[in-house]
Assembly symmetry: C2
Amino acid sequence: MTVLAELDRPTHDTRLTLATLPTPALLLDVTKMDRNIARLAGLLAAHGVTPRPHLKTTKTIGSARRLYPDAPGPITVSTLAEAEYFAREGGFTDITYAVGLDPSKAARAIRLVAEGVDLKVTLDTVAQAQALGAAGTGPAAFIEIDCDGHRGGLTPDDPALIAVAQALRDAGVPLAGVLTHAGESYALNDPDALAAAAEGERAAAVAAAEALRAAGFDCPIVSVGSTPTAHFARNLDGVTEVRAGVYTVFDLVMHGIGVCRIEDIAVSVLATVIGTKPEKGWILVDAGWMAMSRDRGTGGQAVDQGYGIVCDLAGTPYPDLIVEQASQEHGILAVRAGSAAALPDLPIGSRVRILPNHACATGAQHEAYQVIEGDDPTIVAQWQRMRGW
Amino acid sequence: MTVLAELDRPTHDTRLTLATLPTPALLLDVTKMDRNIARLAGLLAAHGVTPRPHLKTTKTIGSARRLYPDAPGPITVSTLAEAEYFAREGGFTDITYAVGLDPSKAARAIRLVAEGVDLKVTLDTVAQAQALGAAGTGPAAFIEIDCDGHRGGLTPDDPALIAVAQALRDAGVPLAGVLTHAGESYALNDPDALAAAAEGERAAAVAAAEALRAAGFDCPIVSVGSTPTAHFARNLDGVTEVRAGVYTVFDLVMHGIGVCRIEDIAVSVLATVIGTKPEKGWILVDAGWMAMSRDRGTGGQAVDQGYGIVCDLAGTPYPDLIVEQASQEHGILAVRAGSAAALPDLPIGSRVRILPNHACATGAQHEAYQVIEGDDPTIVAQWQRMRGW
């Protein structure tokens, strides 16, 4: 596997600035990203637990290099195409694919293992275990555990847990361990409730591992993780690794949960003013939902941020200015309802930066990150994103 | 300008079927698309008005060829990158860019005109008119008209209308005409209300054109359009062209407005079952919001379709089965609340097709359309989409 050294070299047009970059454009503040990465690494080191960052948020080797300058991981991915990208183009070889396996994708997973990748897949049924084994010698498998009723997985006391482990053994597939995700933690915003969610996540994973061990199965990895629980966990006894993704860049949903400050949010969308409607209190910009995504994740939180918080080019929010509405290529900026703040004077051609609700969704709307540094930000690199399945 | 004849040739892997195509994948039923195109063409022909289809929905030369086998348009686009794509790669030369002009993009617009494209841009301020003229000899400009308070544009009685026309004249920029969009029609679902919205759109555009003509300006084009008003207009006197986009493929939002039947929806997402939770009434598939988009446009309609209606491979909906929840790569299928329908028996590895809320947003999540035909659908072509700005 070749690490493409070219990727470490700047690929951007060094003449471009935030004043001249074509808009809308996706910005990533690498100083904030590095700080966010160091923060969680410090928290987990205190627990003696390894992070396994989820790269579904940024989907770029550029950000993976900030986590691991020399590969090989450990990393987590949400699609097999991501696994192929990080392995074949980035040299990453310690990869967990954390979405339940479609049996027809087993052959692709096996191919990556044949290329030298320590790929681990995820499943929770006997049918998937049998299909994986029947497809050939390939990845080890996690059994997915349901810790909070959020999505897939087996509860630790489900008899199917042992049946799936037995099916893996019968099919000749190594058991990687157990894996769970406290997705319900996204609905919380209280430190004690978040700590309780983290403890529920830990307890479910450890109970499942113990049940497997009691039944005579090795269960080497006990994998938990979500960005909120990773930051609020008080005890990780029995856990061997933590997966979290959006923490590297954060977003307004994470701010609403209480995991980060506004100034920790490392991603923003650069936009240009293309219209003004002072009589309605509106400013129109060229970042609509195509640039921001349709994600309205703060809509159910205590503070609804519309389609994002509007900042100046240095990244400082204008008082109470949000993207109130979005159509495909238009964003409508307005002062938050109930605020006495004045609409800022932003004539045609002015530029703003918009902090997004959901960094994973906003990132997916763009080809690349324009990587910026400094209080008067300059563009220091361009990181291409991958996409597709 | 070269028309790439290769694009008319099949580029797909002819061995792939809906049973073997990697999922999630975006499907486009070209038979339904052709029928939708013919329907609006017939309606507008009865009014003696030309359609100018908006290609922001499908963003592919493949669909443009179904509208105009030999180019050159007329077409509408939502970004300059689309204009460049359809002109340089598809040979389309009659193009309206219907989003308010960022002055810093004037040079790109002028370049396209220099390449032989009859590009028309959109603006509504003196500042934009002056900036466009100062950038050089280039496109003609529409003045955007506000017919319903939805977004940008000037009301027909706004004195700025004449001031902008005068600024264009002073700057040496030809006035293309007036352009409006009845965006508020998306909130309606009654034929009479939709007809009234269409009349409001027509009346505003015609009044603005008359005001310009009375002030001594030529106003050759009177451009209106939205998919709902285009289908419910009873009178288009004074209108010269109608822009509509999503009508070529339709979606659940358009069905909720009453513009199309479920069986007219030409786009769907192919997905595979990757988990079952019968005790919760859930089936998990590998199409989450990354494949469907975060668009919840039916959430405010009379019938909330979740993240989409679930169909069998022939495209027939399962009774009351919708995508109730979505995370990045997981969709949770469930029977609609209040329905007595049974959860269908869809074991691991089964495949379904999901009709989306919003075809523009779902399309943007994918690299390409897999083009299908027939009641037992076969894949007959692959159409790459463009993206970016």
